[in-house]
Amino acid sequence: MTSTRLYSLALLVVLLVAWDLFCRWTGISALVIPAPLAVAEVLWSGLASGYLWPHIWVTSAEMLLGLGLGCAIGFSCGVVLGEVDFLRRLLWPYVIASQVVPKLALGPLFIVWFGFGMTSTVVITALICFFPLLENTLTGLQLIDPRKRDLFRMLGASRWQTLARLKLPSGLPVILAGVRVAVVLALVGAVVGEFIGGREGLGATIIAAQGMMDSTLMFALFFVITFLGIAVYQFTIAVERRLLRHHQKGLAL
């Protein structure tokens, strides 16, 4: 372990101790800020009793389904818009405009359409993940070294060959950067989607805990969500490293 990592770990300990001392000295109500040990205890009993697992499972499933759906559709639309000039010019103003629309604000509407529960949350998550993929795919396909384009023309490559063997692989770093953004947004989408219309899941449990004024449980859920996010994000980075290992020397992420 490098010394910087050691310091990072030490900082975590310092922060936890400071949090604990703050709670003890000020005697602040657990309703406002619960002590770290109390949070850990709730977290542990939640995991040990099996109370939290179904919620973790539901949120993970919503997040991954929404992510997969949104990425697949965003990527496909990005490829089509990237390849068909007319469509791109026709739809570009709408793509820009839709970026600005706060997608989460559509949540209540989706509940009207799809009802409470998983479907509407998956749809919100997919919608949020759609845009970074669309935009990055489009950008990635346009950012081709003009010499490589000339090379493929010189070699008489068909349009399909140019797409599959030049544009997609060469745009892959930009496309995967879009996936990374989508992963972070997917978790936000899933949790907030549950705030609005979930019966199960970590977001719905936060709302339930709020109803019971159980701040300790809310803190514990906050940690669970953070760990979930870190796990998926790290996995994405590992996949990205693997796929791009030949694209750049000493790839820095």
Partner: protein, 249 residues
């Protein structure tokens, strides 16, 4: 007989003045011609016109008697930069022209391996482009241009980014390879010594037109010592002076 025949060719980007202005140029089969000039003199554009990558606004290009109306598979092109696909290993980069036309046979693989071997990088075929030095990348690009056994090789300052020693090695290797196959070559460079060393004939280009044509009556094969020969230096001086000559009023 002329393999490459350029007649009265002109090209302008948009409405601007012509970048290439009524150029005539013939290359006999198997000859090695160099085009020298400062950057921006239109030499790369002339090369792209010959390759069919650009369509001339006037004049015509014939390769092997047939008019050029687009890129052709029997023409090899080497770009200013190696322009390799970073995500493919060296051997697959060399085989790219073949694989875009259909299935790659074991014979093709053997030929690619042999070409890499001739270029002195036979042991690097499983590596990826970014693991190679600049000189090795240029060698891969040359192997890729030669894999289809082209009759005409068009080269656009392929060695410009390399250090002097590597450049000399590559020049010698290139001469060996094209001599063994009687490939016709049009080689663009801004380096006068490189042009004189490689070519049977050197054209000096300036402001879109060819200002001078110099024959290089030096026998082949040419050895590295030639670079220090008085005749060689005299030819370089001629070319240099042709470049410095004022534009025709």
């Amino acid at each position: 007989m002329n393999f490459l025949d350029i007649a009265g060719i002109s090209y302008a980007y948009g409405d601007e003045a012509s970048v290439v202005d009524a150029v005539d140029w013939d290359i006999p089969t198997g000859a090695f011609h160099c085009l020298v000039g400062r950057s921006g003199c239109g030499k790369t554009t002339l090369l792209k016109l010959a390759a069919g990558l650009l369509v001339p606004s006037a004049g015509r290009v014939r390769i092997d008697g047939r008019p050029v109306d687009g890129p052709r598979p029997d023409v090899g092109f080497v770009f200013q930069a190696p322009t390799l696909l970073e995500w493919r290993p060296v051997l697959e980069n060399v085989l790219l022209p073949i694989s875009l036309r259909g299935a790659v046979s074991a014979e093709d693989r053997a030929r690619a391996g042999e070409l890499l071997h001739l270029l002195g990088i036979g042991d690097l075929e499983a590596r990826y482009p970014l693991e190679l030095s600049g000189g090795q990348q240029s060698r891969v690009a040359i192997a890729r241009a030669l894999i289809g056994g082209p009759d005409l090789l068009l080269m656009d300052e392929p060695f410009a980014a390399l250090d002097a020693m590597t450049r000399e090695e590559l020049q010698a290797d290139l001469l060996d390879l094209v001599a063994a196959r009687t490939t016709t070559v049009l080689f663009v460079t801004h380096d006068i010594a490189e042009a004189v060393f490689l070519a049977d004939r050197v054209a000096v280009m300036e402001a879109g037109a060819i200002r001078a044509r110099l024959e290089v009556p030096i026998a082949r094969p040419r050895a590295a010592e030639l670079r220090h020969d008085a005749r060689f230096n005299a030819l370089c001086l001629d070319a240099r002076q042709a470049m410095r000559a004022p534009l025709a009023a």
